[in-house]
């Protein structure tokens, strides 16, 4: 039986005995978390004071997974976008980032730029953006992710876009794991935020330039991601560097909240048995004015990150 009754954060539950507190700490501290992650709510059964320790360990965690930059770039290409170097963070900016917070955020930004350059087959730009990611990762102490070995593999595979994409995904995993193993999950969250903001900035810029309906819809679909991103950042409470970022994300969320969702019917899995199509059918409406407002807000936050 999986019990989820009161939330641990409720003040009236402060009188629980020491053994329960220790068990709760154990549950929280030993959770690996996802990119994303950490416990948003660890709900446990507090109704039975005679519950033994085994019962109390049945905590439910909620972890957040964000769309990766690789996924976002693939979607943009799928929607008919073309490469525009002027939308990316100039590589010369890399020396500007001195605090750990700005390094983490811009590791995410450059990571996204690297993926965009690669997916649109820009060989030289891919190498340049890899160097930027390498510089910031090294400064943050992550040597395995974007280090010399990875750089050699990147150089050897520069003409092979698919291999390069797999190397980038592997490097991202190493970086993500490094922050978690070294008890710096907030840095991992900042990388994710930087990457997401850069991806949205690129998408809104291209959407405004091209008026491509499919790309505009991709921007609108970020309404689905913003809640996960905020959930992720909030799960780290007041850790350094996260409060201003959280405020910015909530401003973006307000604009996405105004978008109208037209829902269809909930589907049972359909299609052939090997690859069914699932989920709720829906369309997110976004007017040109709403696109403009989101673009301006995202542009201003992105400029604050990269300055």
């Amino acid at each position: 039986m999986k019990n989820h009754v009161g939330l641990l954060a409720q003040p009236e539950k402060t009188m629980v005995n020491k053994s329960i507190v220790i068990l709760i700490i154990a549950v929280i501290l030993t959770s690996c978390g996802s990119d994303t992650n950490k416990n948003e709510a660890a709900a446990i059964d507090t109704t039975s004071s005679s519950a033994n320790s085994k019962e109390l360990m049945k905590a439910q965690q909620i972890l957040y997974t964000l769309p990766s930059p690789v996924e976002a770039a693939a979607l943009m290409k799928l929607s008919g976008a073309t490469f525009d170097l002027s939308t990316l963070n100039p590589t010369a900016n890399v020396s500007k980032y001195t605090s750990n917070e700005s390094k983490s955020l811009n590791l995410g930004v450059y990571g996204t730029d690297l993926v965009y350059a690669n997916i649109f087959e820009q060989t030289q730009e891919s190498a340049d953006y890899f160097k930027c990611a390498n510089t910031l990762a090294t400064a943050l102490g992550i040597n395995n992710a974007f280090g010399e070995n990875t750089f050699q593999r990147v150089k050897a595979n520069m003409q092979n876009r698919d291999s390069l994409m797999a190397i980038i995904a592997e490097a991202s995993l190493e970086a993500d794991a490094y922050f978690k193993e070294n008890e710096r999950p907030a840095a991992s969250a900042l990388v994710a935020v930087g990457g997401w903001i850069e991806g949205l900035y690129i998408a809104t810029t291209i959407a405004n330039k091209t008026k491509n309906g499919e790309i505009i819809q991709r921007v609108a679909e970020q309404k689905n991601s913003i809640n996960n991103l905020i959930g992720l950042v909030e799960s780290f409470g007041s850790e350094k560097g996260l409060s201003p970022v959280l405020g910015d994300l909530k401003e973006i969320k307000l604009l996405f909240d105004a978008l109208e969702v037209k829902k269809g019917t909930t589907s049972k899995p359909v299609g052939n048995d090997r690859t069914p199509t699932i989920g709720v059918s829906k369309h997110i409406e976004m007017t040109p004015e709403q696109l403009k407002a989101i673009s301006e807000k995202v542009g201003s936050i992105r400029n604050k990150i990269i300055k």
Partner: protein, 149 residues
Amino acid sequence: MNTVKKTVSLLFLLSIITLTASAQCKGLVKKNMARLAPFTHNGQLNSASLPEGGVVDFKLTCYTGLTYRLALAADPVLGKVSFRVLDEDNNEVYNSNDDNTTSWDFNVGSSQELTVEISVPLTDKSIRGCVALLVGFKQPKSVGGLRPM
């Protein structure tokens, strides 16, 4: 004073457990990465350390136009770990207990948030181990698929 010593010792012990668990989770993900082929891994360490009877929900946004693969990896000590997928209206759209597999491929009719719930079975033993959700995606061949190395 005794209490302080005990607390410090406990925190030290917990920090060791945390580091070990995290490293084990990364190892588990890397070991199972090949199961995503020919999909591209999303580059994220989606994992949690769970006890017997433990449950973790992963919130995951999926986009129309891409095909996804979810692969479950779990420490063998946990026994038969299962997962189910819920759409954003909380309808169950997949349950691994129905077909006894640990990976599943799907498309979404429209972009949306899914919940992947991973459950460790209850046992009489006191156990803890890592569970990981590997997420991969691929584009339709018409626009150039992404292949792993």
